[in-house]
């Protein structure tokens, strides 16, 4: 499942890489622009200052020119021009001071102060000239004084020129230093930009390489996943991609699909097994049905004889009564009852009570035959009397006990027949005190009971077992135990189902 966040898709991952590049380019451009702006500002300021100084010098030259004219020609117009020129010098001075602000340059400071000294001298001489023109001071002394002042003024003018030359020299020195600084700045900027671009290129390369590698790895994992499914879906490992993008989603979907396919395949397999079992059962049913049909046919073929025998037995019994042979008559009737039970119920279910009654008939007949050689004990719980079951289940077991278990006993043979129930089962038990049976033999009999290709041994047991299985299915259990002495056979029928 993708986690929330900006980088949870391939497009966004690529976009992030391009964003890094874009930001870097912007930083690069901003830096370049800032550098250019700074450099042009420096040049502009320096040039502006130089031009201002030059304009100040020009204005001082103009001022000196007006003073010269006023002095040489003693012209009153010269005085007006002087005021104008002086105003220009003052303005230029203020412009320079404004430009410089708090900055200080010794040579310029000297020049400005010298200009101010010169202006004061100009004022002084212009006052003298004005006085001379107005006629107030036209004496020789005044003239001499004016001459001396003019000489001083021209000396100051020379100093003004010198200080301006010094100022230009200093400013050009500064200009030179500024150019060196700008050169240094430019070098640093170029180095910075080069390193910056290199760093950004490396970072972007690293980042994009990581993204591409991740995508490639995801694709390879998906391919491996597909291959492993093709080879064997049960051995295929889930695809593990945690790239937090569409590939991770695809891997998750793939893993879910693989899980579903496995489930479907399991179900198909299970169904196939069930079908196979059903087919086997069907074959077995067909075989049993065939056997039943066959036995039924046999039974029908043999039916004439039992009926004939049954009628004959009744006739003999009546004859015995007439001749007062009651014991014989009873035996005939018991035998007839036993035979009738067999004939009437061979293909039906009977109650346990009927089965027990029939078994008693059989025991009576056997007692006539063997006398007190064997004794029989019946124990049937009343709640089991109406329990439905196939007929002729218990009689063969008792017959087995007589013929095999106790055949060698001349006396003291005992057969116990019990019917009871637990909470879950109805139990039918036939036990004798005969020779019993070894565990190995019991196991052999169990195996024979399960085999369909049965031999001629234990036909009676196998017949009982199969009939029970057909009637009860998996609800019935068949158990043989060596009781030393004797053998106990127990039929357990589950009440449920």
């Amino acid at each position: 499942m993708k986690r929330p966040g900006f980088l949870n898709s391939v497009v966004r991952k690529y976009t992030a890489g391009y964003l890094i590049m874009a930001v870097s380019v912007i930083i690069f451009l901003v830096l370049n622009t800032a550098e250019n702006y700074y450099i042009s500002g420096r040049y502009s300021t320096a040039t502006g200052e130089l031009i201002s100084v030059n304009r100040l010098e020009s204005s001082v030259n103009d001022l000196n020119e007006t003073v010269n004219i006023a002095y040489l020609y003693l012209s009153s117009e010269g005085s007006q021009e002087y005021d104008s020129a002086r105003g220009i010098v003052e303005r230029e001075l203020s412009v320079i001071n404004e430009q410089l602000g708090d900055d200080y340059l010794r040579e310029l400071e000297d020049a400005e102060q010298t200009v101010m000294t010169y202006m004061e001298a100009c004022d002084s001489i212009m006052e003298g000239i004005s006085a001379y023109i107005s006629g107030e001071g036209r004496g020789t002394e005044s003239y001499v004084s004016l001459e001396a002042e003019y000489a001083r003024l021209q000396r100051l003018y020379t100093y003004v020129g010198v200080t301006f030359q010094d100022t230009y020299a200093a400013m050009l020195d500064q200009f030179d230093i500024m150019e060196q600084e700008i050169g240094r700045l430019h070098r640093y900027t170029i180095i910075f930009q080069a390193v910056f671009i290199a760093a950004v290129a490396l970072i972007c390369a690293f980042y994009l390489f990581t993204v591409i590698k991740e995508i490639s790895l995801s694709i390879r994992k998906l391919m491996r996943g597909v291959d492993s499914i093709r080879d064997n879906i049960y051995q295929a490992e889930p695809i593990d991609i945690s790239s937090n993008d569409e590939f991770e989603e695809l891997a998750d979907a793939f893993n879910r699909m693989m899980h579903l396919i496995r489930l479907q395949m399991d179900k198909i397999k299970e169904n196939a097994d069930v079908k196979e079992r059903l087919a086997k059962l069907e074959v077995e049913n067909l075989r049993i049905y065939s056997e039943l049909q066959k036995s039924h046919l046999n039974f029908l073929q043999a039916r004439i004889n039992p009926h004939f025998l049954f009628n004959t037995l009744n006739m003999i019994s009546s004859l015995a009564r007439m001749e007062d042979a009651d014991r014989t008559a009873d035996l005939m009737e018991t035998t007839a009852s036993f035979l009738r039970y067999n004939l009437d119920n061979i293909s039906k279910t009977v109650t346990l009570r009927k089965e027990m009654d029939n078994l008693r008939d059989y025991v009576d007949i056997q007692q006539c035959r063997y006398g007190d050689r064997y004794s029989y004990s019946f124990d049937m719980a009343p709640e089991t009397e109406d329990f439905e079951m196939p007929c002729m289940i218990l009689q063969p077991l008792v017959e087995n006990s007589i013929q095999h278990g106790m055949a060698m006993m001349l006396e003291g043979g005992q057969v116990w027949i019990r019917a009871f129930q637990t909470e879950t089962e109805v139990c039918l038990e036939v036990r004798d005190n005969g020779v019993g049976m070894s565990e190995e033999r019991i196991q052999e009999i169990y195996e024979e009971l399960e085999r369909s290709d049965a031999s001629s041994n234990h036909i009676g047991l196998r017949n009982i077992y199969r009939r029970l299985k057909l009637f009860y299915g998996d609800r019935v259990g068949f158990r043989m135990e060596d009781m030393a002495p004797g053998l106990k056979i127990t039929i357990l029928i589950s009440k449920e189902g």
């Binding site: 966040g5 200080y104 000297d110």
Partner: protein, 329 residues
Amino acid sequence: MKKNGENGGAGTAFKKSIISLILAVAVLCIAGITGCVRGLQGSAGTEERPMTRVSVIFPHSDDGYWSLITEGIEEAYEELGEEYGIDIKFYIPQLNYNIPQMTDILRQQVAARVDFIIIQGNEDEEFRQVLYEAHDAGIQVICVDTPMEDFPYDLYIGTDNLEAGRLLGQELSELTDGKGDLAVVSGSPGYKNLDDRLKGLREAISAYPDMHIKKIAYDEYDGLTFMQLYHSLDESANVLVCIEGTGGQTLSHTYSEKDTKYDFVVGFDSFEGAETGVLDGIVKQDTNGMGRRAVEEIARYVSEGEYSSRIIYTEAFWLDQYNYDEVMR
């Protein structure tokens, strides 16, 4: 879902990339800014106003005396200039000790209304006149090495030349065992420092009846003139006293060992001559201290409005071939 491992990378890589980018930009910016700032520093560009403007007008730029005073000023300026807002500019005439040129420079400084003028005092009338103008304009006048007679200079820093002359006389009398005819070569007339030295010398040798000053001549601070005098002074003189530095310096450069023309040659401030033995001994002034002290006193005046004293004497030592290392150390 695992977060680590081989396939977890774009988010982590992006975070790493962003952090790397930020770090790289930060480091580069710091480096760039530092570099740029460093690039913009160290220039002799404009500074903040107001500054105390000091103009130093020295007569000479030799490598033995005035250059040492200049060094002292520069060293102290380096230490105190920025702190006290002092700006110092040096002016030297094209010709050594050219009074008219120095006077013109002085006028320029007065016109430029500087705050302090440091000069070597001299008694030239025009020079004095301009100095008076400076003084009247409120400019602080500081005399170094040489004071001025009857002039209201604001500060004098230099050797007590009278004492220096006495020291020279005493050492010379010891060298000559109190016997000798002296020829004295001075710079120019009208320099109070030289007059004081001569006065001190006279006082010192006055205790020795066999020591006499036979001749006093002036080399006008010029080596060629000195050498002409060297060979043409009074024939009877056996001791040459260069009471001003030019003589001793010229001899030091001319000879590599002591010349036989005079039995004894002594002078002022010619370290090389003292070391090689061309001169038997000299009085060494604390030239560096003069320059340094001048700036210190200006700083003091700027901050406190007064000097520590109007006259400040710096030390003077006797230096010869034998104690050269000890004294110079």
